[in-house]
Symmetry: C2
Subunit: 522 residues, 2 copies
C-alpha cells in the first residue's frame, strides 16, 4: 500500500490523459509525474529527509495536487494547513510537528511574513504562486527547473504519509498522523462506493486542505481521473466549471450544495455531465435533495461520514438510498452503512455494546485508523487504547445502529437540546424547517429559556424574494414533527456562519444567547 | 476485513434486491442471508468448528453461492473442489487438509460413493441437489428448514477463509490457504478495476470452484450485485443467459470467449447489456478481440493476471488498452500493470532485480498473499521465505516489465520453444496464427525435430465451413513474424483440450510427440 503507486499506474495506462486542470493550465500524467519527481528532488535538495513534514498553505491549484504527491514521493509527510486559521494557530501547528519547509501561494504572502516571526521551526519557504517570488524565498518553478526528477522514495504501509490538524473544540489542535496504508484503503473504499471511476473529471471546489476534499483527490488518483482545481468555492464558479469541463464527480458539503442549487443562474448551465455528487459533514435535508435532484438529473448522491482520525471514511449512504424508493425507508438521515473492511460498534461508557437501536459512543475498527496524534501520547491512548476496546477508534460521536445496520449519528452531546426534559435532536427539527417552501437553509440550536430550561430555536435563511414569519414556520413544522420539537422562536439571517469545510458553526449561533449563562458554547 | 461483511452491507442497502438467480429460482438478499445463516447453523450443528474445512463438489448453482458465504459465516473455511478431478485426486485433497464435511450436488452422487471409499477424513455428506437425497446422507434443504439462523461467526483479517487446491505440474496438488483479508483486498481491487459495479447482474458461466470465477463472486459481493449461475459453460447457454437476464458483467477465459463469439447463432441474441467482460488465463489475441468487440459493442474488456497463491490478482490490463488506440501501443499482449496495493518485481536467480526490460522471475508483494500451503512448510518457505525477498511470493512465472511499467508474462520455462538455438515464445506465434481468417483457435508447442532440436508446431481449430492448409497458415505467419518463429508443421483438430478453467492443456498436445524423448511433458 503506497500512495504514490497511483501515479505510476496512471502514467502507465494513460500517459497522455489529463491529470490536472487549473484555469487554462492542463497537464498530462507524464507531465504531472515529471513535476512531482522534480519537486520531490528539490525538497530533498533543501534538506527534507525521510519522514519529515512539509506544510502546504494555499488556495486550490494544480500545484497543490503536485505537492500532495511530491511530498510522499520524496519520502516525507504532507501537512496541509487550514487557510482560515490565524497566524498563531498555523504557527502552533507548524511548530507542534516540527514542519520546517512550507509551500505557499500568492494569497498567503502576508501570512507567511507573520509566520516567519511566530514559528520557531519554519526554515524554508517555497513560493508556488504565479506572481513574482518574494525576496528571500524559493520559487517552486525555479526549483523545479533546476532539479532533475528523483525516483519515488517508495514509502508504504504504516509509514507516515500525512499529518492533518483537527480543530478540536477545546484546547490546541491535534496533528492526526495517517499512514500510506490508511489512505490507500480509504481510496479503494470510496472509489468502490462510486466516488471515482475510470474516465472521471473531478472538481475541487471545496478546499483542498480539508480531508473531505482529499478523499476526492485520493480516490481519483487510484482510478487515474482528471482533477480540476477551483481556487475557492463560489456557487457561480462551480456552475461554470461544471459546464466548461464537463465535470463528472464532485464533493461538497450540504451548505455548498444549497448555494449552488439555489443560485439564480443555476438553470442557465448545462450540468448534465455530473454523475456523482458526494457530500459530507452532515445528512442532507429532503427539501434540498429534491431541488438538487431537479437541477442535476444525471447525478447520483452519496453521503460520506467520517473523521480525520480514520483517514477519514467510516460509512457511506449509497445513491440508492437517495431515490424516492430509498427515501421511503426513512434512512436519508442516517450515515449509511460501514464501508468494506470497516467495523462500527456502539458502546456504553464501560466499553460494552449497547443493545441494538440504543444510543452510545460510536467506535470504529478500520485499516484507515490513525497512527496517533503527533506528540500526544495521552490523547492517542484515550482515543485508541481504551480498555476493553484497544485498537478501536473512540470517535466521541454519539450514535445508534438500526435493525437493518444503518448508522445514525445523533448530535454530539453539546448539540442535543434538552427542552422541558425531552431530548430534541436538532437535525430532526432542521429537516422539518427546511421543507418550508420559503426556506433556503437553517440551523436549529438550544437557547436558554426560563420555562423549558432550553428552548428550540431556529436560525433561518430565506430564499431570495421569499417571505415567511416565525409563526408560519412553526405551524409548518407541527404538520411534520411533535409539537415539543418545533421551534419556539425563529430568527432570520442573511447567511449562516460556516467552517472552512462548510459546516454550520452552531457555536457562533449559540454564543450571543449563552454569554454569562451556565452552558458552554463550544 | 471480513468476507461476510459484504452480505451484511447488501442486506442493509438492498434487502429486496436480487442476490442470486439459478434457472427459475430468484432470491433476494434477505432470503440469501436467511439461507446462509441457516446453512451455517446446520454446519455448526453437524460438528463444524471454527477453522474447519468444508468441501464443495458441485456444478454452478445458487446454492454454491450460499455455501461460499455460509462456510465463513459458520467460522469455517471453504474447500471448493475441481469437478474434473478423478476420485483419487479429490480424495487426496480432502484428506490432505482434513475436510470432514462435503456439500455435493446431483451431478456427483456417484463420485461421492467413490469418495466414501477412498477418503479417510470424509464423515458428513450433505446433498444440495434437486433430486431426492441418497440414503444415509443429509439433505441441505431439510437441514436448512430444521435449523434457525445463527449469527455470523465474525472471522476476519488473517483468519483462514478458504483452501483452494492448485493442480501443480508435478507431484500432488497443494492446498493454498487464503485469508479473509486477502480475499477482501482482492475484491476491492477488482471492483475498482471495473469487474463489479453497483447495479450489476453477473453471469457465472465458468466453473465456480475455480478461483478465476471466485474473483467475480467476491467482487460482486462487495458491490451487492446480482449473481446468475449457469450449471456449466456452453456457448449457447451463455448467449441465452446474456439476453434473458440482461447480464452486465462476466468472467471467461479466451477459449470460452472464442466459443461464444464464433457460435453460429451469436448474432441472433441481444447482447447489448454486457458492459464488462473480464478474461484471465492468458492474453487475448487481436483477431479474437476484434470479433468479440464486433459482437459486444457495449462491452469493455479487461485482462486479469494472477495466481491462486495471491487470492489471485496480480495485475490488470484495463479496458483502455483494448481500444484501437490502446492496442497501437503493442501492450495487448502484456498482463497490464500491478493493481492497487500490489508490488511486482522481476528478479534473477540470486533474488536481485534484473535491469528494466530483462526477463526474470516475477515476484509479488500483496495483501492477497497466501497464508501458506496446507501442511507443506517446505514448499511454503520456498515460495514465501526465499532470501533476500522474504515475504514476497515467488510465482515461478518468467516475466519482464517494460519502460512504461507493463508486465509481460513470458512462457513458463516449459512452454518456451528453443528452435535452432533461438527462443520462441509460443504466445507470439499463436497471435499470428489466430489472425488467419479461417482460424478459430490455436495452440503452439515445441515438438522434437532432428534438425532444429525443437520445431515450432501449431495445433489449429478451423472455423466451421472454413478451410486452410498448413502451408497457407505458415505463409500467413511470415507476413507477421520472423520466419524462424513460424510454425514448421501444422495439425488440424476439432477442438483443443482445456482445463476446468478453460486453459489449453499444452501438456496433452505435447505428449504424443515427446513420449520416450528427453523432454518432460508436464
Amino acid at each position: 500500500m503506497q500512495l504514490t503507486q497511483a501515479l505510476h499506474r496512471a502514467v502507465a495506462t494513460r500517459p497522455d490523459g489529463l491529470a490536472t486542470i487549473c484555469g487554462g493550465r492542463r497537464r498530462t500524467f507524464v507531465e504531472y509525474r515529471d513535476r512531482v519527481a522534480r519537486l520531490a528532488s528539490a525538497l530533498r535538495a533543501n534538506g527534507v529527509a525521510i519522514g519529515d513534514r512539509v506544510g502546504i498553505l494555499s488556495l486550490n491549484t494544480d500545484r497543490y495536487l503536485e505537492a500532495y504527491m511530491a511530498i510522499p514521493w520524496a519520502g516525507a509527510a504532507f501537512n496541509p494547513i487550514n487557510t482560515r486559521w490565524s497566524g498563531s494557530e498555523i504557527a502552533y501547528s507548524l511548530d507542534d510537528c516540527d514542519t520546517r519547509v512550507l509551500l505557499f501561494d500568492d494569497a498567503f504572502v502576508a501570512m507567511v511574513a507573520e509566520l516567519k516571526e511566530k514559528s520557531r521551526s519554519l526554515a524554508t519557504l517555497i513560493h508556488v504562486g504565479d506572481r513574482p517570488t518574494p525576496a528571500g524565498m524559493l520559487s517552486y518553478e525555479a526549483l523545479s527547473a533546476a532539479h532533475d526528477p528523483v525516483p519515488d522514495a517508495g514509502r508504504r504501509g504504516r509509514d507516515l504519509a500525512g499529518v492533518f490538524y483537527t480543530g478540536g473544540t477545546t484546547g490546541h489542535p491535534k496533528g492526526v498522523m495517517l499512514s500510506h496504508e490508511a489512505f490507500v484503503h480509504n481510496a479503494l473504499v470510496l472509489a468502490n462506493e462510486g466516488m471515482a471511476r475510470a474516465g472521471d473529471v473531478a472538481l475541487h471546489a471545496a478546499p483542498m486542505f480539508h480531508i473531505a476534499d482529499f478523499c476526492l483527490t485520493n480516490a481519483q488518483w487510484i482510478v487515474g481521473g482528471t482533477q480540476v482545481a477551483l481556487p475557492g468555492f463560489t456557487p457561480l464558479a462551480t456552475l461554470q466549471a461544471l459546464q466548461r469541463e464537463r465535470i463528472t464527480a464532485m464533493v461538497l458539503v450540504p451548505t455548498m450544495i444549497q448555494m449552488v442549487v439555489d443560485h439564480p443562474q443555476a438553470t442557465d448551465f448545462d450540468l448534465s455531465s455530473l454523475r456523482m455528487l458526494a457530500y459530507g459533514g452532515s445528512p442532507i435535508n429532503e427539501a434540498l435533495l429534491d431541488r438538487a435532484q431537479g437541477l442535476l438529473p444525471a447525478a447520483q448522491f452519496m453521503q460520506v461520514y467520517g473523521m480525520t482520525e480514520l483517514a477519514p471514511t467510516i460509512s457511506v449512504l449509497p445513491p440508492a438510498l437517495h431515490s424516492s424508493e430509498g427515501r421511503a425507508t426513512g434512512r436519508l438521515r442516517s450515515a449509511g452503512v460501514p464501508c468494506t473492511g470497516i467495523r462500527v460498534r456502539i458502546v456504553a461508557p464501560d466499553g460494552q455494546d449497547v443493545p441494538r437501536g440504543e444510543i452510545g459512543e460510536i467506535i470504529v475498527r478500520s485499516p484507515g485508523r490513525m497512527l496517533g496524534y503527533w506528540g500526544k501520547a495521552e490523547e492517542t491512548a484515550a482515543a485508541l487504547e481504551r480498555t476493553p476496546n484497544v485498537g478501536w477508534m473512540h470517535t466521541g460521536d454519539g450514535g445508534r445502529i438500526d435493525e437493518a445496520g444503518f448508522l445514525y449519528v445523533v448530535d454530539r452531546v453539546k448539540d442535543m437540546i434538552i427542552s422541558g426534559g425531552e431530548n430534541v435532536y436538532s437535525i430532526e427539527v432542521e429537516q422539518a424547517v427546511a421543507k418550508h417552501p420559503a426556506v433556503a437553509a437553517c440551523a436549529v440550536i438550544g437557547v436558554p429559556d426560563p420555562q423549558w430550561g432550553e428552548r428550540v430555536h431556529a436560525v433561518v435563511v430565506l430564499k431570495a424574494g421569499q417571505h415567511a414569519t416565525g409563526e408560519e414556520i412553526r405551524e409548518h413544522c407541527k404538520t411534520l414533527i411533535g409539537g415539543y420539537k418545533c421551534p419556539r422562536s425563529v430568527e432570520f439571517v442573511a447567511a449562516l456562519p460556516v467552517t472552512g469545510a462548510g459546516k454550520v458553526l452552531k457555536r457562533e449561533l449559540r454564543e450571543p444567547y449563552w454569554q454569562g449563562k451556565g452552558r458552554g458554547v463550544s
